[in-house]
């Protein structure tokens, strides 16, 4: 499902500030796998996720996502590929605070050329799945952290992607809510989704549903278990 071949991502290339955020990583993730990327702050986890998630392109190397080489795709095609295959749950949720939960979940569907009815059904499905029915009229900023995260997950799922990426999903949650989150991930894994989570929370990488933990340091892979 996901394949990285000798991938490097350099920021500020050719300047004194140059950073190798990801440095020569090769990696393969199969369909239906749940993988955790672990490593200290600044080790390149988020960068790797953005590469897998078609949010950015590698400086060198090849990234294959859902059977397509995305490393040299121009923006419209890269984005197109992303919205067909990838759902992203961001570290700070990144909901739009002033609009309703319902509209937040609708956002990824707007450019997709669906009928309003189809969109409605999709959002209803996502609301049901994440048990946030009844909250859809609330503004995003009026929700608790746990609820906000469920909205963010609902938004990632609404396009029905095969790949789910989550960046530090439990950083702002208590243990109870973190377990909740992992339960949701387990459910998605059962549906056959491929899941990649960047996290240095033991609760996450010691979770029994996780198939593999990949450790990173300074942009390189240092261990795999």
């Amino acid at each position: 499902m996901i394949e990285l071949k000798d991938v490097t991502k350099v920021y500020y290339k050719g300047t004194p500030k140059e950073v190798k955020a990801v440095d020569g990583i090769s990696l393969e993730i199969a369909k239906g796998e749940m993988v955790v990327l672990k490593g200290p702050s600044g080790s390149g986890k988020t960068t790797l996720l953005t590469l897998i998630g078609c949010l950015s392109r590698p400086t060198r190397g090849r990234v294959l996502v859902a059977g397509k080489d995305t490393s040299r795709l121009q923006e419209p095609f890269l984005t197109f590929h992303r919205r067909m295959h990838v759902g992203f749950v961001f570290q700070q949720y990144h909901l739009i605070p002033d609009i309703s939960v319902y509209e937040n979940i609708l956002l990824p569907l707007y450019p997709l050329d669906m009928t309003s009815q189809e969109m409605e059904e999709r959002v209803e499905d996502a609301l049901r799945k994440l048990r946030i029915k009844g909250k859809e009229a609330y503004r995003a900023k009026d929700l608790s952290g746990g609820e906000q995260q469920r909205v963010a997950i609902a938004r990632a799922l609404v396009t029905d992607p095969e790949i789910i990426l989550a960046d530090e999903p439990t950083a702002n949650l208590d243990t109870h809510l973190s377990r909740d989150f992992l339960k949701i991930m387990d459910g998605l894994k059962e549906e056959g989704k491929t899941i990649v989570i960047a996290s240095h929370d033991p609760l996450v990488y010691e979770h029994k549903g996780v198939d593999r933990v990949i450790e990173m340091r300074d942009g390189r892979l240092v261990g795999c278990s």
Partner: protein, 331 residues
């Protein structure tokens, strides 16, 4: 020199548009020279973003060109009041030798911008954007015409002399008049034959293009739709306008843009020029159909759509004309 607020708007609008276009073409040139899809450097990413700037600019330039055409016709019609002998836009355009050339070059640049947008639209469909150099060099080639357009327009307004008598549509377009020999060389009956014959021929060709396609038919359709544009304008002068005014001796191609005729000229000309532009587009994209594999499908799909739109435009134009003819005959 003659000046009023719409002339001022036209000239300033024209210069602004031109500067915008030059700004866009400058980045176009940069893209054409530095484009390297294999590189993931900041520069390449920046160039990719710039392509959106350029296409946004050209889209708006086309829009402004259309608006400015409308305003130009309105202005020219408006100022006939100060030009002795002028009874409508025709007379005003005749006020000096820059009038009609301005209009022609304006129409020509309309087709240039339209063609560029078509190329860009097609190119965007392929991941390797194979036309990237072609289209930006083409954009550079449009600039001289945009400059010419504005120069002619300014010269036209600057040289208007409210003291000189001009000849108007009655003289210009009537048999024996100046433009007659070029635009309506034939008597009405024959002109009607050519018009309706041409329309049917174009429809058949369009259907063939839609169902079968093929290089020859594509070029033929494209050329025919441009020819039909010319035929249509001659027909407007020769007989269509007469039916609209219910006055067979009144051959003006501008008057029916006015309020008195319920602005019918706008749908008429928009349909006609829309049809012609889409017709032209069929041929513009044809050479790339086989040259670039990644574009083949996009071009075929586009041509089918363009042929339909072109036929629709011409049909609307012909239908409105026929409606006026029927009204005249039946009432």
């Amino acid at each position: 020199m003659f000046m009023n607020s719409s002339i001022l708007a036209l000239v300033l609008g024209g210069i602004t548009t031109l500067l915008l276009l030059i700004y866009g073409a400058y980045f176009g040139l940069k893209i054409a020279l530095q484009w390297n899809p294999e590189s993931a450097t900041e520069e390449q990413l920046e160039l990719e973003k710039r392509t959106y700037l350029v296409s946004t600019i050209v889209n708006y330039v086309l829009l402004f060109e259309i608006l400015s055409l409308i305003l130009f016709i309105y202005t020219v019609d408006d100022i006939h009041e100060i030009i002795p002998g002028a009874m409508c836009a025709t007379g005003s355009l005749n006020a000096n030798r820059f009038g009609f050339p301005t209009l022609l070059v304006k129409l020509f640049t309309f087709f240039l911008y339209g063609s560029w947008i078509v190329l860009n639209h097609i190119d965007r469909k392929a991941e390797d954007t194979p036309l990237i150099k072609t289209k930006y060099l083409f954009l550079l080639g449009i600039i001289p015409f945009a400059v010419l357009e504005n120069t002619l327009m300014i010269a036209y307004f600057a040289k208007i002399d409210p003291e000189t008598l001009v000849s108007c549509c009655g003289v210009v377009f009537n048999p024996g008049g100046k433009v007659t020999s070029v635009l309506s060389p034939l008597p009405k009956g024959e002109m009607m034959g050519i018009f309706f014959g041409g329309f049917l021929f174009l429809l058949l060709l369009g259907l063939a293009m839609y169902w079968r396609g093929g290089r020859l038919i594509a070029y033929l359709f494209s050329a025919s739709s441009m020819a039909f544009l010319v035929i249509s304008i001659s027909s407007i002068i020769s007989f269509i306008s007469g039916y609209i005014y219910q006055m067979p001796t009144h051959p003006c191609p501008f008057d029916f843009l006015q309020r008195e005729y319920h602005y019918v000229g706008y749908p008429l000309y928009i349909a006609l020029f829309g049809g012609a532009l889409f017709g032209l587009a069929v041929g513009i994209v044809e050479p790339f159909e086989t040259r670039y594999r990644s574009l083949t499908k996009a071009i075929r799909d586009f041509q089918k759509k363009a042929v339909l739109l072109s036929m629709a435009g011409f049909s609307v134009f012909t239908s409105i004309s026929v409606w006026y003819i029927m009204r005249f005959i039946l009432l």
